[in-house]
């Protein structure tokens, strides 16, 4: 279990990014400085990331996201959990998601 990402917590997209869906791609655009390594970067998600991202909307804990995806993909929860935690780690370090209090 990762020590930063807590499956019992609720996460939501940060207000410091603008998230756009363009031609099937999720594009994350920094709104303030300090999101990317340099100031002219945008970000997209891979297919797995897109499926997870759609559910990380501030309405439910990550554990529920894992359950939903495990059901939809008929896959072991442990495998799904690895992907969810992996994505959230990346998003959190880039300040693209925030933990909802």
């Amino acid at each position: 279990m990762n020590d930063k990402i807590d499956l019992d917590k609720v996460y939501a997209p940060s207000e410091d990014v603008v998230v756009r869906e363009i031609e099937g791609e999720v594009v994350i655009v920094p709104l303030v400085s300090g999101i990317g390594d340099v100031e002219d970067e945008l970000f997209t998600l891979n297919e797995t990331g897109r499926d997870i991202w759609k559910r990380v909307d501030g309405s439910k804990p990550l554990a529920a996201v894992v359950r939903e995806l495990a059901e939809e993909y008929d896959a072991p929860a442990g495998l799904i959990e690895g992907d969810v935690v992996g994505l959230l780690e990346e998003l959190l370090v880039r300040k693209m998601v925030v933990e909802k209090q």
Binding site: E25, V32, E39, E41, L45, L87
Partner: protein, 389 residues
């Protein structure tokens, strides 16, 4: 599910996001105003800052914000705010903030003289995600203000640039090769190399556009400031033969003449431009009435999906164009295009002798043409380019 590297970074100018299906619009150029606080000798868009008629006709912030929203819906990622001098507008920040909140990258073309501490802080806190592009007209006050014809503009430009630099706002500088600035090119390049984020030589405006709004007196002045073909080649070779090699490569890649097709430069899902009064065009110079769409009578979506494709399909019936430009293997190298023909001749397809001469000089320097040879008489330009590369 599986996944490593869930998040991918995309740097400005890197490979396109959508290799097979592009958004309906990828970039929108907005000329916020024709007005400028400078009065540059070579500029094709600079009505006086206080021009009442122009200011009265300009779209207000609400119209621009609505248009930006429509552009975002069409998938647009980049908006360029230019002018005239876009910072002349009191509502510039409002328009800029809206563009950023919609998730657009913003390119700003400016002379930097009107950058305020507040604007520099805004660009620091809410970065445009594209380097601000600053035009520089000389290294010395006398040189600079001989170009801008505006007392105090040199100090104002230096102050604006300092504000950008002190706030860590990425910017690039661009020069203009004019009779008065040619002697300062080395100094300009050395200075530019010392600026934050400098990479390579700065770019220059050299083959100045005439006024697309077709003002005869100003166009005569602009024409008189352009370099002749030999001078253009000489300036391009200042740092060696790299530019000449690029011209040769460009001819090799551009595939020769395009027959009667006028708009070889315009892919679908590309860019569009809007002037200060809501007139949409493929590019800001293309003001022929048949190629302009009044956004007051329709929508950006309609313009992009229905009007611009019709423009893109336009073909030339001009004999001189078909016999020369339509067959010319330097077509990709030559600056002639419908916008340039419009500015020079008031048509979409009259060959432009000035650009024709420049392209021929480039090709001769690249060893692709013999002295006196006309490129449109070369039967197989692709073979010629391959053979001599």
């Amino acid at each position: 599910m599986t996944g490593k590297a869930y998040v991918k970074k995309i740097r400005s100018g890197e490979a396109r996001l959508w290799p097979s299906r592009r958004p309906l619009l990828t970039r929108l150029d907005i000329e916020l105003t024709e007005r400028c606080n400078n009065n540059c000798v070579h500029c094709s868009v600079n009505r006086p800052a206080g021009d009442y008629d122009a200011r009265e006709r300009e779209w207000g912030a609400e119209s621009w914000k609505k248009l930006l929203g429509e552009a975002a819906v069409l998938g647009c990622l980049v908006v360029r705010l230019t002018g005239g001098e876009p910072l002349l507008r009191g509502d510039f920040e409002e328009i800029y903030i809206q563009a950023r909140r919609l998730g657009l990258r913003v390119m700003i073309f400016t002379n930097a003289t009107l950058v305020t501490p507040g604007l520099a802080r805004l660009l620091k806190d809410m970065p445009p995600l594209e380097a601000v592009e600053v035009s520089v007209y000389g290294m010395k006050k006398e040189t600079y203000e001989a170009v801008t014809r505006t007392p105090g503009s040199f100090d104002a430009f230096r102050r604006g640039l300092r504000l950008l630099r002190d706030n860590g706002v990425p910017f690039i500088v661009k020069g203009a090769v004019l009779p008065g600035t040619r002697g300062e090119m080395d100094e300009f390049e050395a200075w530019a190399a010392g600026l934050p984020g400098a990479a390579g030589l700065p770019s220059y405006a050299q083959l100045f556009d005439l006024r697309s709004r077709r003002n005869g007196r100003k166009n005569a002045l602009i024409s008189s400031l352009r370099p002749d073909a030999a001078e253009f080649v000489r300036v391009s070779r200042r740092h060696g033969e790299e530019a000449v090699g690029e011209w040769r490569d460009f001819c090799g890649r551009s595939g020769g003449g395009h027959g009667g097709r006028l708009f070889s430069c315009l892919p679908s899902g590309g860019s569009a431009s809007v002037d200060p009064y809501g007139q949409l065009q493929y590019c800001l110079g293309l003001r022929h009435p048949a190629t302009v769409y009044d956004l007051a009578t329709g929508s950006l979506r309609e313009a992009v999906t229905e009007f611009l494709p019709r423009v893109r399909d336009m073909r030339s019936a001009d004999r001189a164009y078909l016999e020369r430009c339509g067959r010319c293997f330097l077509k990709g190298l030559c600056e002639q295009c419908p916008a340039k023909s419009w500015a020079e001749h008031g048509t979409l397809d009259t060959p432009v002798e000035y650009f024709c001469g420049i392209a021929h000089a480039q090709a001769a320097a690249a060893g692709l043409l013999e002295p006196g040879e006309k490129a449109w008489t070369v039967a197989d330009g692709a073979a010629r380019t391959k053979q001599r590369s």
